[in-house]
Amino acid sequence: MSRLARWRTPIAFAMLILVVLWVGQNGYRQDLAILMVTYGLISLGLYSHYIMGNSMSVAYNAYVAIGGYALGVLCVRTDLSMFLALPIGIVISAAVAVLLGLTTYKLSGFYLAAVTLLFGEAFAAWLVDSTGITGGASGVTLTRGLTLFGSEVTRQHLVIAALVTLFLAAWGLDRLRTSPFGIALRAKGDAPRAVESSGVSTRALTLVSLGIGAGLGAVAGWYFAAVNLSMLPESVPLSVAFVALFIPFLGGYRSPWGAVVGAVVVTELTFNLTWFQDTGTLAFAIAVLVVLIFARRGLLGLLGDVLAWAVRLIRRDGPLHKEGRDHVQPSA
């Protein structure tokens, strides 16, 4: 394990505390944070099956919408606790992902990406069409606030919970990556026949990883709707799923924390970049290309290289090394 890898979780935890303190009660910062969490959870979802398992399934606008609409529909049509919408959304989106995975099991690469993107587009059209369920083009607006044990859950509470969820999801995937399941999943991505011949079902691995990804997408949708108090067909367009595809590569695909780093960068570039109007997404696109061509391990990989170089530099020029060097030098 590299020096940076050992410190990733404590550094991420420290960053989480700093971000929570920075967001505070500022509405604009809360918007930034929730956008970052949405991108982050979608990217982590993609990480679970695309980066680890080489299944380029990208219908994330559908999974996020399912999570958001589950909350909206439950709020408007029932008196049940709105927290129930979270497991309901996760189960429905995972079921949709598994069904889509079963029908597209034989596909890989851009063939799979194309079909799942078209599914995402068809799902977006269905959201507008199904006025009776989704409210059609007007979407659903939350008519009551979230409560937990009788206390009101404020926007700030939700944003903090969303940030903690993002941290836990990245930490969980980091653990999963090195677990027997994660190792089998990664091996499936590289050599599916070898995994199949060792008695592990590659189909089951793919479907489980797709379900995990879709579940994370639904969680993102739930938070998005809960914080914004509404869910519309255009809340999470297909372009978001398309953008999210690049986030793990930008941040660094060798660790789920890379997806979080990428989500921070894309939020900063597409939402908060004010130095040159309207070019944030272009800057992101160029950054992705530069990283893919010149720094294939992403920003985290680049940071690791810089740290390793700095450590080498300190060791070479540091006092201990100088003493050692003086010690072995022959006396004049």
Partner: protein, 290 residues
Amino acid sequence: MPIELVVPTLETGCFFGLIALALFMVKESAALFNFAVGGLAVVGGMASSAITVGHGLPLVLGVLAAVAFGVALGLCIEVLVVAPLVKPGGGEDHHVVMALVAGLFALQQIAGVAFGKSALPGATWMKGDVLDVGKFVVSAQALIEIAVTLGLFVAIGMLLRGTRLGRQFRSIGDNTQAATMLGMPVRRIRLLAFASSGLLAGLAGALFANRAGVAFTSALQFTLFGFLAFVIGGAANVWGPLAGGIGLAFLQAFAIYYFGPAALTYVTFAVAALFFALRPEGIFVKRVRA
């Protein structure tokens, strides 16, 4: 389906066919899918519209700009994106695929920044009707679009089948590693393939922009529909992409006519899922003598 819808559907099919042909050129010679074609078509269409409709300059300048942008950006993609990543033996690597998809995304954003975020209306190449028999009307513009598409398919078919350059294209695409060992100009052919892909996509964008205007956000959809047309038609010969494009356009037109506009996305998804799963090699398949 009413007869008056046949010609507009054929026009759409020609557009899909040209985008699929742009994919075919690179797939045939470099064993890669140039997913950036949608972005090249958008840049071509928007550049042509900005010059002709926006600045009132002659049509020929708009078309030339679309083609020049297409060729230049196609070459840029090869030099800046593909060449640093592709392995000596060729073929599709995970990173090359992602880089080409990122290229599509970058071109889309470049078009948005350079030509604006609103859809631009395309220029009409020629006004008036050529044929008017009852409900069956063929506009001069439609005739030009179909004629230019057919002309390009015939020219590229002849180039690939009947010339030494064409044989080099096909042999490198079939086995890049063997072609490299035989000393064939692999890099030069790949550059030519990306340039021709850019030319076709840019021209397609300029030619068909007048139908519904062109917006920078259309790039992904252009690539998806072109890719679908390519898969439906197959890569057996140069006519596969055109057959795939026309087939896809008629399926979409049927769906919209009988089931409403939303059916477009449902039918496109169903067609993609069925073809990719059951017949990923397409309708026309390469026959090899045993």
